[in-house]
Symmetry: C2
Subunit: 339 residues, 2 copies
């Protein structure tokens, strides 16, 4: 039993294949009556367009790519990506596109993959995540002529359109919460300096704490996002006599590790030190105390980014989208500083 083709529908409806194509794609050229007859025939045969044939003819793959250059280990522990993907897919499915997902070693490999995808016409465009400083990807994509949207920040070079969350105001919101509790000495354990969003947060942290500073310099430590460095950063911050009474971590994993490190060092949370995690996740709710976190909506974020890319493919002009400030979910890990 062969899969039905347009020719089959045409035969069944007693019209030409061109008429079928017109009817199926909802464009003028057939009377409303025959259109209905054709649609009924297609439905009766359970017809679905053959992606390859359509792609070949339309010169459009009907698929977009997402390559991620992060260790699988790191990715797995962060719910962020799965939710991001979930949102991306909701939008893509809606508009009959598929997602090619690929884990890569580094940015170079990522560019190589783009090159291949594009040469093979596997995808019509890509979603680029984790923008970096001196990022080679936008320029590479431009030279390929490959449509793309940058998810995670505005493109500093202005090559790719971007979709991002206002990190600066999010950080300000966290710092405000801590200030209102009475904290004077706040520290920031950030991610690696190569990532743009990390740098935006660090800059915002500097600005926010400097603004309300009462004499004690704020402290910032850079890490690789791992639990190991999160714990080490915490130990070194708490070792000082005048140690901070609140610490903001750039992700959930480090916040959890930091809390454990604090406890081991005999520092109570939140009695002696308050803790805030940038990302919300299951991890933040199974700990004791539960963590105060910044809760974004990665799913909506992904859907928007995917939507922008499809718009771009449909010929709409590239535009940036900035999201509203995420919510701060106050749980048990933040409290007034010790008297």
């Amino acid at each position: 039993m062969r899969r039905p083709t347009i020719a089959d529908i045409a035969r069944r409806a007693g019209v030409s294949s061109a008429a079928v194509s017109f009817a199926l794609n909802g464009r003028p050229g057939v009377s409303e009556h025959t259109r209905q007859r054709i649609l009924a025939a297609a439905d009766a045969l359970g017809w679905q367009p053959n992606t390859a044939a359509r792609a070949l003819s339309a010169k459009r793959a009907g698929a977009v790519g997402l390559a991620v250059a992060r260790p699988a280990r790191t990715l797995g522990v962060e719910p962020f990506f799965m939710q991001l993907i979930s949102g991306i897919q909701a939008e893509l499915s809606e508009r009959a596109n598929a997602l090619l997902f690929h884990l890569v070693e580094d940015v170079e490999a990522e560019i190589g993959l783009y090159r291949r995808w594009w040469a093979e016409r596997r995808v019509d465009g890509v979603l680029v995540v984790d923008p970096r400083s001196a990022d080679p990807r936008p320029a590479a994509l431009r030279s390929l002529g490959m449509p793309a949207v940058l998810a995670g920040g505005p493109d500093p070079e202005g090559i790719l359109p971007g979709v991002w969350i206002d990190d600066a105001r999010a950080m300000a919101r966290i710092v405000t919460h801590l200030r209102e509790l009475g904290h004077q000495r706040v520290a920031h354990v950030s991610g690696p300096s190569g990532l743009l969003h990390t740098e935006r947060r660090s800059a915002a942290f500097q600005a926010a704490t400097r603004r309300g500073a009462t004499g004690t310099a704020p402290t910032a430590v850079t890490t690789d996002f791992s639990e190991t460095e999160g714990a080490r950063a915490t130990r070194s911050l708490l070792a000082a006599a005048d140690h901070p009474t609140a610490i903001v971590y750039d992700n959930d994993v480090m916040a959890v590790a930091g809390m454990s490190a604090a406890r081991q060092a005999g520092v109570a949370v939140p009695a002696d030190v308050s803790i805030v995690a940038w990302e919300d996740s299951t991890l933040c709710r199974v700990t004791h105390p539960t963590l105060t976190t910044l809760s974004r909506d990665p799913s909506r974020f992904g859907a928007t980014a995917a939507g922008r890319l499809l718009d771009l493919l449909d010929g709409e002009p590239p535009t940036d989208v900035e999201f509203d400030v995420p919510e701060l979910i106050v749980r048990e890990s933040t409290a007034p500083p010790p008297a």
Copy 2:
């Protein structure tokens, strides 16, 4: 600047397009000399096959699908899937295939997606994960005539070839470790009963504990894999006067939640109760005490499953593959029971 086609290569090398096709695909029909000339021309032009054209002609998409019916929340927190995917991709890339990845609501939606993928010729086959009891997917795939490999267990109905890990012996290994430490009363907090691998583990647990039982019946609790139920199960297990001195959890999240619950109930880990998690992850190393876990290699598992699927597509006969027993990584959460 148009993308080069086979016709361009043929023109450049002064041969026919068929000769080019033969040369490119490494099959007989051209002399070694012309083959080299053709390859050089293709290389000079930077030619890459157009996936759509190839798929249309070869009647093969050059892509396989992976649909996962789990909440994004659950997926995200488990490193398992990302590593699985990483392994799948390594194998697929090796053999010039792409991966279509999709999150779905439930098994019904998953079947719907298979139907669509197959009708559209989006993929050549699928990797099915999380086999269930009374699973409708194997039969649905057979009725579609869609090639598939079941990753996570042998197919009880024998429809699909499977790739899996020996859960029974893995559980035996865990129980043996606890017995050697001197534990008599061991409990098992398992996942939902609908999942095949969960049921295999539960059965193995029953068998292993019954075998060495000294009078006290083993205890088992069924959960939905969530931290909430993991914690609740722990509380109810520890509430009994004669509570177990060791608990085996079916995943890392529940083990961590269970440990917190135990601590809150005034039960020390590992002094009063030992804890073992089925899956290893970062989560298991940032806790205090660190968790004793069963460590599998999801990446190799994924690569094998993908390899079997591609073999199947290449016409090889379907065969099952059972993996060796995973390792038990002994950390701080297991110790002899209280005297």
